[in-house]
């Protein structure tokens, strides 16, 4: 537990590099994992943690660098290769068979069979499964159907599955983001138990308290670079945050001061059972209100409740001083609210359709002439104007959304919502996964819109973006608003501490 190097590393990565369409996701990362340790991997969003994991599990091939398994260089080309080496990964959203029971999920692909009849040896299967579940401290019948288990239980099943083929390396990718506190505690005790039995565990989390509570060593990544590895007992949270944040704030974020107008959106006591509780805030004309928090803090759920995608159970919403009930996005739209969703490809765009058709989707009725006839010239004109204004780079408006780069896709989504001429714009992770150039353009656009009087609610997990763009910052943690800061008082450390629940300020 005290951080000395226990034994030969089971896995060693040297100088791993990986680029996607010009952006360097990993720029020479080193990483070392020993049997019997829990090794945390931390960094901001986009630091390269997920890419690194995908290199280890064979989802991505590195452009350069070496992977050593027990000192031998190996090439991992697909997830099955990784499985054969004894590498198992547990993701936030487990991939299981919902219609089968727990034991079957654990042993799918390598059922124990009776020798002559080739019949599934059910007793053996259930006994082994029960034993594994007991080892994991899981109080569940292995005959329970998987459909309908909680996320925490699903993760336990995934861990049991990993154990069933004797995984030596277990990767847990933000396993706690959707778990309750007691579930997290259970998961941690399981992880410690596995560690003590010699399994090497890679643990990814945004929550520093978890890193300090669980891990033995921690490796920090920043912008695809390796920053350093230290023993957890030898660093303080402040030091770790500084390693993760690293850069000083520059003027990449050009939010200009705007004189704020009246309250456009007021939310009071918004509650959705089991999701978020008692959310109240006000949003002013010309204001950019940042909504900070960790993944799983339920910020997106709040936005979707306001927009009517998944309405809240209780609470009141006022738009321009009028109390409103929003049950469907089209009602939100009529009130001048627009929502740029987090999941651009699934919720933002219709990938097999062209730019024009994507942009005009919410306002199609405006181009309908007599009998619903579409005035395609006016439609193209509108699309042309807005895409020119946002500088969408494509061969033409006829190009399919699926053929655009991530940055241009996001611009098309923004264009689509701006054509509705909203007065309230909700942006959910507006710059996630897009290149630096587009990012700056998006920020500039937000600033311009605010100065024209638009009220913007911005959800972002990137602290520099929150700090640079917001006039005011709300922080959410586990479905509640826990703190708020003005632009002047906010610092990365304060927000981080509030969001991780480390302080109850």
């Amino acid at each position: 537990m005290d951080g000395e190097i226990r034994s030969e590393p089971i896995l060693k990565l040297v100088g791993i590099r990986k680029a996607f369409d010009g952006t360097q996701a990993l720029a020479g990362v080193d990483f070392e994992l020993c049997p019997g340790e829990i090794h945390a991997l931390v960094g901001e969003n986009g630091a390269g943690k997920s890419t690194l994991i995908k290199v280890i599990t064979g989802v991505h091939r590195p452009d350069a660098g070496e992977i050593l398994f027990r000192g031998e260089p190996v090439v991992i080309t697909n997830p099955l290769d990784a499985q054969r080496l004894g590498i198992a990964a547990i993701y936030q959203e487990p991939t299981l068979f919902p219609d089968l029971d727990i034991a079957e999920n654990i042993f799918m692909g390598h059922y124990p069979l009776r020798r002559f009849t080739r019949r599934v040896a059910w007793r053996q299967l259930y006994d082994q499964a029960a034993r594994t579940l007991r080892v994991l401290g899981m109080d569940l019948d292995p005959r329970t159907r998987v459909r309908g288990l909680t996320v925490a239980q699903l993760q336990m099943v995934e861990i049991a599955k990993a154990l069933s083929f004797n995984a030596r390396i277990l990767i847990m990718d933000e396993p706690t983001s959707t778990l309750t506190l007691s579930e997290v505690a259970e998961l941690f005790s399981t992880a410690r138990q596995l560690r003590d039995a010699g399994t090497a565990i890679i643990f990814i989390s945004h929550r520093l308290e978890e890193v300090f509570g669980l891990a033995d060593r921690v490796t920090v990544l920043r912008d695809g670079h390796y920053v350093g590895t230290c023993n957890v007992s030898e660093v303080t949270p402040d030091e770790l945050i500084r390693m993760m944040v690293g850069r000083t704030l520059n003027d990449l974020f050009p939010k200009s001061d705007v004189k704020q107008g009246s309250v456009v959106l007021r939310v009071e006591g918004l509650t959705k059972e089991g999701v978020f509780r008692d959310i109240s805030f006000e949003l002013h004309q010309g204001e950019i209100l940042g909504l900070a928090g960790l993944a799983g803090a339920r910020r997106t759920d709040v936005a979707q409740a306001i927009f009517g995608v998944a309405p809240a159970d209780r609470g009141k919403i006022w738009v321009d001083g009028q109390q409103v009930a929003i049950r469907h996005p089209k009602e939100a739209l009529a009130l001048g609210i627009a929502y740029v969703p987090e999941n651009r490809q699934q919720h933002g765009l219709i990938l097999p359709m062209n730019i024009t058709h994507n942009v005009t989707l919410p306002i199609l009725q405006q181009f309908a002439r007599m009998g619903g006839w579409l005035d395609s010239r006016a439609e193209a004109q509108t699309a042309q104007e807005i895409t020119t204004r946002l500088d969408v780079r494509a061969a033409g408006l006829w190009q399919l959304a699926s053929a655009l780069s991530g940055g241009n896709q996001q611009k098309v989504v923004l264009a689509k919502w701006l054509t509705t001429r909203p007065r309230i714009l909700i942006l959910d992770e507006p710059t996630r996964g897009i290149d630096v150039g587009t990012k700056a353009a998006v920020h500039e656009l937000m600033s311009t819109l605010a100065s024209q009087g638009m009220a913007i609610l911005m959800i972002s997990s990137e602290l520099p973006e929150i700090l640079g763009m917001s006039d005011r910052i709300l922080v959410m943690n586990e479905g509640r608003l826990v703190n708020q800061f003005t632009r002047a008082e906010a610092t990365q450390e304060k927000i981080m501490l509030a969001a991780t629940g480390s302080s109850s300020a």
Partner: protein, 336 residues
């Protein structure tokens, strides 16, 4: 208190949804009680035998259909496969009366296997969606029935006594036909529930992506499902022409929808991944009892289809509502 209450409700819902068969069984039981009060003949041995004989072929075909639906597919060609195998066998035995009934049965299953393989190959190697594939082969196989027979029938007098007797006889008071359906059901049950291949068929229907990651041979198992469906249809075809003592070019027209209905009523989800053999048998039984009951309580047989339609709709709607309630109660509990 609310947590406990919620837990309790959840477990009740779980049991209902988990043992889908109980639901149909209760419904069947109620139906039996009501009908037997109206008609004393209903619960006599000979009537029960009649009902079972009537649904035997349906359940054999429905079992194959269920396997395909479990893989997220659908087989619209079952009735045509049945008719083609039946006609081919019927013509063969009329010119070669020396072929024993068992040989005829094997021959039918062989023809069914070939036809099923064609479906399987088109779906796996040809990447044609199952509904399109089997829509096409449904027309093709049906046309072939006509092509090989030239529109002529094979009549009872062209069949040997042994052949017709194959489905008429009884073993230990159980009609042969029912006996055979029982054997098919037991083997299929064993296959789906106790072999690793069977479990993989459920797995790939339940989550195709996860199946690939778990190293399951998706194509091989898909092919197998269509092959089995074909074999069972071939068997059904021979039994059909033996039972009705004639093979015609329009034998079993529309039977595919009966088979799908039996599976769906029996709890096989059209979204794949779930459904059981006992469920399919109960589904067939329910459809069979309704038809029988209608005639016993002197309701015109023309009500048959309408009532079957209502049963299908009722089954689909209850399933959907139940599973939605279940999900809601679980998600509320999971995150609170």
């Amino acid at each position: 208190m609310s947590v406990i209450a919620r837990k309790k409700r959840r477990s009740v819902l779980l049991t209902i949804a988990g043992v889908r068969e109980t639901g149909i069984s209760i419904f069947i039981l109620l139906l039996v009680v009501v009908v037997s009060l109206r008609s004393p003949y209903f619960l006599t041995v000979s009537n029960i035998k009649d009902v079972l004989m009537d649904i035997a072929i349906l359940s054999i075909v429905a079992i194959g259909e269920a396997m395909v639906i479990i893989t997220r597919g659908i087989d619209l060609s079952v009735a045509s496969t049945l008719a083609l195998a039946g006609m081919a066998v019927g013509m063969t035995i009329s010119s070669h009366p020396e072929i024993p009934p068992g040989g005829a049965l094997l021959m039918g299953m062989g023809i069914g296997a070939v036809l099923g393989s064609v479906n399987g190959l088109l779906v796996t190697k040809g990447h044609i969606p199952p509904i399109i594939t089997t829509l096409g082969t449904m027309s093709i196989y049906r046309g072939l029935v006509f092509a090989i027979s030239g529109g002529a029938w094979v009549d009872a007098d062209e069949m040997t006594k042994e052949f017709i007797g194959m489905t008429k006889g009884e073993i230990l008071f159980i009609p042969n036909l029912v006996f055979m359906a029982g054997i098919v059901a037991i083997i299929s049950y064993y296959f789906l529930n106790h072999t690793s291949t069977g479990r993989q068929i459920y797995a790939l229907g339940s989550n195709p992506t996860a199946a690939r990651v778990a190293g399951i041979h998706v194509h091989r198992n898909l092919f197998l499902a269509y092959l089995i469906s074909g074999i069972l249809c071939g068997m059904g075809g021979v039994l059909w022409i033996s039972r009705y003592a004639s093979a015609q070019s329009d034998t079993a027209v529309g039977f595919e929808l009966q088979a799908i209905a039996a599976a769906v009523v029996g709890g096989v989800s059209t979204l794949g991944g779930s459904g059981t053999i006992p469920g399919v048998l109960l589904g067939s039984l329910l459809l069979g009892i309704v038809v029988n009951a209608l005639s016993l309580v002197h309701i015109s047989p023309f009500w048959k289809l309408a009532v079957q339609g209502l049963i299908i709709l009722a089954a689909v709607v209850t399933d959907a509502l139940l599973s939605r309630r279940l999900q809601q109660s679980r998600s509320a509990e999971g995150t609170s």
